[in-house]
């Protein structure tokens, strides 16, 4: 029973990991850039949802689309103004830019929001559904459901819409995409904006059970990279598999080992997977 409960908890938290990591993998897949500042957009999403709650009385789950839109616009600007310039630059320059962005965003947040922790209080925050002997935490379930909905919407978008298809085409072969008349610059902007907006969405939906602070990104950055590399860098489906896997591994490991070793177990599995499948679980199928 304890195993079932742990699987359930791991699955729910894994769904959230998947959504916040899809953005990272999307940006890499389409633009070939590793965005080290990705987790800072999670922090922004949390703060947007927090202020929507504090000022407008909006539930963080309802504020998630708002966070998505705001960060989407911000992401488009950042891509146009900054990322665009280093697309063809050496990798070192790209790393400097995104790491620099990370530092700037974190410190701006410190200046604007102060360094304290902010937490919302919602009616469902402390409730859980009972499934026989199992407890399903409502805020976890809500975050999971929102993540699944968001993931499905993204999947539909990539699969069926013209923009989605064009974006995938750009990811597969930028030159060929250009030849058939796809504006690669526009696709890059869309991909980056979408990527960071998804992460911000994830930040908003986890706010009911976490606290927002300017440095919260650091706690998720390593996790996000683990998720995408485990699943296969650049693969959206890989991020979903990776996210669920990370959530479940963490949760199951806590059954046997002290919770402090959660990430140790995670990384042992991570290294094992990479030594057999260097491109990640779904690395081959982009």
């Amino acid at each position: 029973m304890a195993i079932l409960q742990a699987l359930l908890d791991g699955l729910m938290i894994g769904g959230v990991y998947a959504v916040i990591s899809i953005g990272l993998t999307l940006v890499f897949g389409v633009m070939g850039i590793v965005n080290f500042a990705q987790a800072e957009f999670l922090m922004l999403g949390m703060f947007i949802a927090y202020y929507a709650w504090a000022w407008l009385g909006l539930d963080p789950l309802l504020a998630a689309p708002l966070a998505f839109v705001v960060v989407f616009v911000l992401g488009a600007f950042i891509q146009r103004l900054l990322i665009h310039r280093v697309l063809k630059a050496p990798e070192v320059a790209q790393i400097f830019l995104t790491v620099g962005l990370l530092i700037v965003l974190e410190n701006l947040a410190l200046l604007m929001f102060g360094s304290g922790f902010r937490s919302v209080s919602t009616p469902y925050q402390t409730s859980a559904l009972r499934l026989g002997p199992l407890f399903v935490s409502v805020p976890y379930l809500a975050a999971f459901a929102m993540s699944v909905a968001c993931g499905l919407a993204l999947w539909l978008f990539l699969k069926s819409s013209w923009f989605g298809q064009a974006m995938r085409a750009t990811a597969q072969d930028p030159m060929a995409a250009k030849l058939v008349g796809i504006d690669a610059d526009r696709m890059h902007m869309l991909a980056f904006a979408l990527g960071v907006a998804l992460t911000a969405f994830g930040g908003a939906v986890i706010l009911p059970y976490l606290t927002a602070s300017p440095t919260v990104g650091g706690q998720f950055a390593v996790l996000m990279f683990t998720v995408v590399v485990l699943g296969g860098l650049g693969s959206v489906a890989g991020a979903v598999v990776g996210g669920l896997a990370v959530g479940i591994i963490q949760s199951l490991s806590a059954l046997v080992f002290p919770i402090q070793l959660q990430n140790l177990v995670l990384f042992i599995v991570f290294i094992a997977v990479l030594s057999f499948r260097p491109k990640g679980l779904l690395g081959a199928a982009r």
Binding site: A2, Q5, A6, D9, I13, L110, G114, S115, G116, F117, S119, S121, Q125, T126, S127, A128, F135, S137, V138, P139, Y140, Y209, L210, T211, S213, P214, T215, G218, Q219, F220, Q250, S251, A254, L255, P258, I259, Q260, Q262, N263
Partner: protein, 408 residues
């Protein structure tokens, strides 16, 4: 400094920055003034003003600034011809290495006569290595056992040790439960794996062992944990009658929320830090009501002092603010006694004096007196309980302001 009674903590931060900037601009003028009255005394303040423990750092700084302004407004340090206290505040972030670097900088560039700080034990330990080497007094309210346990001569801790606090957390709980007719047989401990969490857990464990109570769960977890569910699942399965979480703020909110979700109704007895600040109540609302915690001191024991804090900052004087205020007042009294700011004279004055006036009266025990390890021998921890958005002292009975409510 403006005395705006309506300021909230966020504004205070900006206000403080503005004050710092203004102080910087006004420095030449102040210098001239200081020359006329005897030079100002620089006191270093190192606190975590960003990162995971920032809220506590800000609270602490508020307490220190209150006392500094009070002393300066009352004519400064009389033994030094009315010299003013000039605080040099530095951010330790939440990283021990940074804290040590900052301490080094304050000592070599800012000419500070002593250092106050740094709330989190891990930071204080890092700073103490530097101050010990340089022979400069470090006054602290951090309480990990390591702080006074290393035979350092320049460290002064105004509160009891973590193991003592941990034991009191256990003993107080047993007594309160007994008063309500329940005998504790099984307890759970969960703590953050930092210097503070680890030492305090040792105290709880020792208390349980001495009382023959079984510890059915004893788990450490990492700082900055983002998912406490596995811990709470384990707690539910453990059959404990009470849980003793030792945590800072972010984790304390997660733990109490997850407990409520799983309908775990056993009492939670917090280990100070995250459980005794206004943000805890803000984050949990009605679920904070009735939560117990140990605290090294509490504001309701000396309202004549702590109301001055509430009036200025708009919230109750949290224990870290109170104890840091005591640190600065003790230092000021030591300077008055030594009539000097030389480290050797200060150390002698700090070691050989019974401080029983000013803010020392607001400390538990009412007196501050350091033994040769630098520990204040008079401070005793108290148990507090959340009642209607305030912390009420409920144990030990000699000082309690109300009877504890025990809901098992």
């Amino acid at each position: 400094m403006a005395h705006d009674t309506s300021t909230k903590s966020r504004i205070t931060r900006r206000q403080a920055l503005a004050t710092a900037a203004a102080a910087g601009l006004a420095a030449p003028a102040l210098m001239r003034q200081a020359m006329a009255q005897g030079a100002a005394v620089n006191v270093g303040v190192i606190l975590p003003l960003s990162g995971a423990n920032a809220q506590f750092g800000i609270n602490s700084r508020n307490g220190i600034e209150l006392v500094a302004d009070e002393i300066n407004a009352a004519g400064g340090l009389k033994a030094l011809g009315g010299a003013k206290i000039n605080l040099v505040v530095a951010d330790a972030t939440s990283t021990p290495t940074t804290a040590a670097n900052v301490a080094q900088r304050l000592l070599s560039q800012n000419d500070v006569v002593a250092i106050l700080g740094a709330f989190a034990s891990a930071l204080t330990i890092a700073i103490s290595e530097v101050t010990e080497r340089r022979g400069v007094p470090l006054l602290t309210m951090s309480f990990s056992d390591q702080i006074t346990g290393r035979g350092f001569e320049n460290i002064f801790q105004v509160v009891a040790k973590a193991s003592v606090i941990g034991k009191a957390q256990f003993d107080g709980t047993v007594e309160i439960a007994k008063g309500a007719g329940q005998k504790l047989e099984k307890i759970a401990i969960m703590y953050e794996d930092t210097a503070y969490g680890t030492s305090q857990a040792t105290g709880i464990r020792a208390g349980a062992k001495a009382a023959g109570v079984e510890v059915v769960m004893d788990d450490a977890y990492p700082l900055g944990i983002t998912d406490v569910t596995p811990l709470i699942n384990k707690l539910r399965a453990s059959g404990a009658q009470a849980v003793f979480p030792v945590s800072y703020l972010n984790d304390s909110l997660q733990i109490i929320r997850a407990m409520r979700q799983q309908q775990i109704k056993i009492p939670a007895i917090g280990g100070a830090a995250g459980y005794v600040i206004p943000d805890f109540e803000k984050g949990l609302g009605e679920f904070a009501e009735g939560v117990l915690s140990i605290a090294p001191a509490n504001y309701d024991l000396a309202p004549e002092f702590t109301d001055r804090f509430r009036k200025r900052y708009g919230y109750f004087m949290v224990h870290e603010a109170l104890e840091h205020a005591v640190c600065l007042d003790v230092l000021a009294q030591a300077i008055e006694k030594a009539k000097s700011t030389k480290p050797d004279d200060l150390r002698k004055a700090l070691h050989g004096t019974r401080f029983d006036s000013g803010w020392c009266k607001a400390m538990t025990g009412g007196v501050v007196e350091f033994d040769k390890t630098g520990l204040n021998t008079h401070s005793v921890p108290v148990m507090v309980q959340w009642r209607n958005k305030e912390l009420v002292t409920v144990w030990p009975s000699q000082v309690a302001k109300a009877k504890a409510v025990w809901s098992s």
